[in-house]
């Protein structure tokens, strides 16, 4: 079945440093979504990318969808302690109704 992997599994940065997580799918995706989950919380939708090569920005967060629609990345510029959490990508493929979540990247930010 479809697998979605993320690297790294864990990243610890100093506040102000940049952070990137990479997402790779074993199959072509219709779209990709990114979620943030705070410790003890539930996944919160961040953004959806649909088009090949699409780039979207939300303040310090930049999201990219690969040309082949099999990979994606999330880049955070100048991290803050409020960015702490686990970032999941999740893909929809074909007409499937389910989201296949990636393995997640846990981000820790310290002062």
């Amino acid at each position: 079945g479809q697998q979605v992997m993320q690297i790294p599994q864990y990243q610890h940065v100093q506040e102000g440093e940049d952070f990137t997580t990479y997402c790779n799918s074993s199959t072509t995706l219709s779209n990709i979504q990114w979620y943030k989950q705070r410790p003890g919380g539930h996944p919160v939708f961040l953004i959806q990318l649909v088009k090949s090569g699409e780039v979207k920005k939300q303040k310090r967060l930049t999201f990219q969808f690969g040309e082949a629609k099999k990979n994606s990345s999330l880049h955070i510029t100048a991290t803050q302690t409020t960015d702490v959490g686990t970032y999941f990508c999740a893909g929809l493929s074909g007409t499937a109704s389910k989201l296949t979540f990636g393995t997640g990247t846990r981000l820790q930010v310290t002062l």
Binding site: Q33, H42, F45, F88, L92, T95, S97, K98, L99
Partner: protein
């Protein structure tokens, strides 16, 4: 802002007991989901439900699991005979079907029910 509501927030049960997890999706949403997340792991799809029937289910969703929309607002997940390995966070999600295209829809997640099987 409308939200997906799940009850209870934490359920403790003995192995072999039946549990029912409840969800109230956002009122005008039409597609419903259950996911689970074992502690420290990724979120896993269990089942999707549309038009009063299961649309898709994963390998995890075996005969011990069932879903129901008993009335116009609730969406339930039943586990008939719980096992230790069923201990996890269970998330309900729902979407509004935009133009019939699932790929354009955002799933809204509830806060989850933590199920602890002893």
């Amino acid at each position: 802002e409308p939200e997906v509501t799940q009850t209870p927030s934490h359920q403790v049960t003995q192995m072999g007991q039946e549990v029912i997890l409840r969800c109230v999706p956002i009122s005008n949403h039409l597609y419903f989901y259950w996911y689970r997340q074992i502690l420290g792991q990724k979120v896993e799809f269990l089942v999707s439900f549309y038009n009063n029937e299961i649309s898709e289910k994963s390998e995890i969703f075996d005969d011990q699991f069932s879903v129901e929309r008993p009335d116009g607002s609730n969406f339930t997940l039943k586990i008939r005979s719980t096992k230790l390995e069923d201990s996890a966070m269970y998330f309900c999600a729902s979407i509004f079907l935009l133009d019939g295209e699932l790929a354009k829809n955002i799933q809204y997640f509830g806060a989850g029910t933590r199920l602890s099987v002893l």
